[in-house]
């Protein structure tokens, strides 16, 4: 097991190298760059400080040299924690991403927990009560969840929260906590705001997972080993939870790999509607304004998450299913 994980971690290195190379290549493909237009504006206004700044950056990141030299400077920088410089925000990318990644990750984690906590019991219930009113109710709710666009749900929930609960909506914090240092009150305020994006982002995934779990479980429920467990005298819930559900969860686990990056990049529209200080909107802006180091670093981080996600799901699968472990 340990050697398996180590081997998988080693495969990481070439994979990530290739991804970063391709990412960087694509990002700098469009003609022109942020710095050129920035320099033009600085020249026009005669701002000496800005012009010096441009010169420094050009020097530091090799911007007047071929793209592979730029790539090399950027990539070696990453290894020592320098992700480059955001021209638009006039800040190091590391600082910019740092603030947002924490909240993004928190949101992603909360959403995953929400999705699993809702989808697993509902999926099990629907399968065990197949073709009953309860099953139809769950399935109906699931289809509604699948069919509702995220941004619409976001708008509706914001309206409900504002109109009926008199909450400040939008963002992850109330205005008074916006720039405040972390405290218990701020965490509490965050939790009060977090539920709207969690529900909005999670609904779609929840609905999908309910369908998957119901279908998987229906395949397992009538396997002979379930009958064996029943013949031992276990209660229906106990035997279902221990035996068929455990096997039916396999596709969930292999889905974790997609969930990690998906939750971060997939929630962009919702984040914009809800004006969340997460990473999704930042990526969109950076791509629009050719803020190359920000965009590049962002995509690079997403790739790491994808690869990491796949690794985590592989390890979990091997841990859960001995048939995989011994192959």
């Amino acid at each position: 097991m340990t050697s398996y994980i180590l081997r998988r971690l080693l495969y990481f290195i070439p994979t990530l190298l290739a991804i970063s190379l391709v990412t960087f290549f694509i990002i700098q493909l469009p003609p022109g760059d942020f710095l050129t237009s920035f320099e033009a504006r600085a020249l026009a206004s005669g701002d000496q400080a800005d012009l010096e700044r441009v010169e420094q950056l050009r020097e530091r990141y090799g911007l007047d040299q071929p793209w592979y030299v730029q790539y090399w400077k950027w990539f070696t920088g990453i290894l020592v924690g320098d992700f480059g410089y955001s021209f638009q925000w006039k800040q190091p990318v590391a600082d910019l991403l740092g603030q947002r990644m924490l909240l993004t990750f928190l949101l992603a984690l909360a959403t995953t927990v929400f999705v699993w906590a809702v989808a697993i019991p509902m999926g099990i219930y629907a399968a065990m009560r197949k073709n009953t009113v309860g099953d139809y109710a769950v399935s109906f709710t699931g289809f509604i969840g699948l069919a509702t666009p995220d941004f619409l749900l976001a708008l509706v929930l914001m309206w409900v929260a504002f109109f009926y609960f008199d909450m400040s909506v939008g963002g992850l914090f109330s205005p008074e906590f916006e720039g405040a240092p972390w405290s218990m009150a701020k965490v509490w305020d965050l939790l009060g705001h977090l539920w709207i994006p969690v529900v909005v982002i999670g609904t779609n995934g929840t609905a999908g997972l309910i369908r998957i779990l119901r279908a998987n479980l229906l395949d397992e429920l009538h396997k002979p080993y379930v009958e064996t467990a029943r013949a031992k005298g276990l209660t229906e819930w106990h035997l279902t939870a221990k035996h068929p559900v455990r096997v039916a969860l396999n596709p969930f686990i292999s889905g974790i790999g997609d969930t990690l990056p998906g939750l971060i990049s997939g929630a962009t529209i919702t984040s914009i509607v809800l004006s969340l200080p997460t990473a999704g909107p930042l990526l969109l802006q950076s791509l629009l304004s050719q803020d190359m180091y920000l965009a590049g670093s962002y995509i690079f981080l997403l790739s790491i998450l994808s690869v990491l996600g796949v690794l985590i799901s592989d390890i979990l699968l091997a841990w859960l299913d001995p048939r995989i472990r011994y192959q």
């Binding site: 064996t228 467990a229 013949a231 031992k232 276990l234 209660t235 455990r246 096997v247 001995p322 048939r323």
Partner: protein, 357 residues
């Protein structure tokens, strides 16, 4: 009788399917005795497996036990009807696994692939006895040793796919017997195994039965297994027991035309080398199109020879034909029909050696 363990009376298990009603078990009477082996034989689809599952009430919807009684004799004067219990209720769950256990046909499919053998054995034991994990482990390892699994301490932590078919079935047996039940129901336990392993498993079952003094219900379609294992035999056809008696009664003095047909269809070593095997004419009727009257009348040679018309309309009762020997056939019912002695002889002549009754 005081050695009676389970008394099945007019058991009916029906399946309510979209296309119609299937009477998988339709009025079964059985007596299961302590320390003895009852073999239930019949063709595929005759309801023997559903009957076995009905004893534990583990038939799941759309199947449902709709009538009859299963009386369990716990001790002298202590008799309960298991069908009075809710199939999911605590009394029934306390019976399952503890008083009566079951082993199944496919040992690979019947063991969960993602838990160790030990985990699955201990699961049953810890459910019925309040013991610590360590104690349960000791008992389980002892049980694995008893069923002939080498190096049981290591096998305890093995997964089903790491064992051979025979070892898996041994593990299944260990799992079923860990609570020392009074009744073991074995649903074709050797069908999925190769012949040498079959013999070992049957031998093991006999040994353990003697040791634990339990009753065994052996579901099988293999008359060789019946001859090897059984004390008593029940022959099933389309959801009914058509004949029940001791193994000698059934093999040497069969009374129901279906039993005679089954016995005649066994290939024999001493027979003429070029002789055709005797087969029961026709096929088992489709479950949606059960014949009225006696369910076997469409394939019964003796009805045709005797020109019995009532078999088509009237269901025959269970008739006592010997001390502990019953057959569900009009041929043996005195009031039902008057047969010419010639006809009875004619009917039994080509099929049996010992004659009618």
């Amino acid at each position: 009788m005081n050695d009676l363990l389970l008394e099945v009376e007019n058991l009916q298990t029906h399946f309510f399917l979209d296309d119609g009603l299937v009477k998988a078990v339709d009025g079964v009477h059985l007596h299961i005795r302590r320390g003895r082996t009852l073999a239930v034989v019949g063709e595929s689809g005759c309801g023997k497996s559903i009957m076995a599952r009905s004893l534990l009430q583990i038939v799941t919807p759309p199947g449902k036990i709709v009538g009859g009684a299963i009386r369990y004799h716990r001790g002298p004067g202590d008799v309960v009807n298991l069908l009075d219990y809710d199939r999911k209720g605590p009394e029934m769950r306390a019976f399952r696994g503890r008083e009566a256990a079951m082993i199944f046909q496919e040992p690979m499919a019947s063991l969960s692939p993602v838990y160790t053998i030990g985990n699955q054995i201990v699961e049953s034991f810890r459910l019925h006895f309040k013991v610590s994990k360590a104690e349960a482990r000791t008992v389980a390892i002892e049980m694995l040793r008893k069923v002939g699994i080498p190096r049981p301490e290591a096998r305890f932590d093995a997964y089903p796919h790491q064992l051979s078919g025979g070892m898996r079935q041994r593990a299944m047996i260990a799992m079923a017997l860990i609570c020392q039940p009074n009744l073991l129901i074995a649903d074709e336990p050797t069908t999925a195994l190769d012949v040498t392993t079959q013999a070992q498993i049957l031998e093991l079952l006999q040994k353990l039965q003697a040791e634990l003094e339990m009753a065994v219900v052996m579901i099988t379609h293999d008359l060789g297994v019946v001859a090897e294992m059984a004390d008593d035999v029940a022959v099933m056809y389309l959801g009914q027991v058509v004949e029940q008696g001791s193994v000698d009664d059934i093999f040497y003095n069969p009374q129901h035309p279906y039993t005679r047909g089954l016995l005649a269809s066994i290939p024999r070593l001493e027979g003429a080398t070029r002789a055709r095997l005797a087969a029961i004419p026709g096929t088992v009727p489709h479950p949606y199109a059960r014949p009225g009257g006696c369910p076997f009348h469409t394939r019964c040679r003796e009805r045709i020879i005797n020109r019995l018309d009532m078999c088509k309309t009237e269901a025959p009762p269970l008739v006592q034909v010997g001390a502990e020997h019953h057959a569900r056939c009009w041929l043996h019912h005195n009031q039902g029909v008057e047969l010419s002695s010639e006809a009875v002889q004619l009917a039994s002549l080509p099929l049996t050696t010992t004659g009618g009754h």
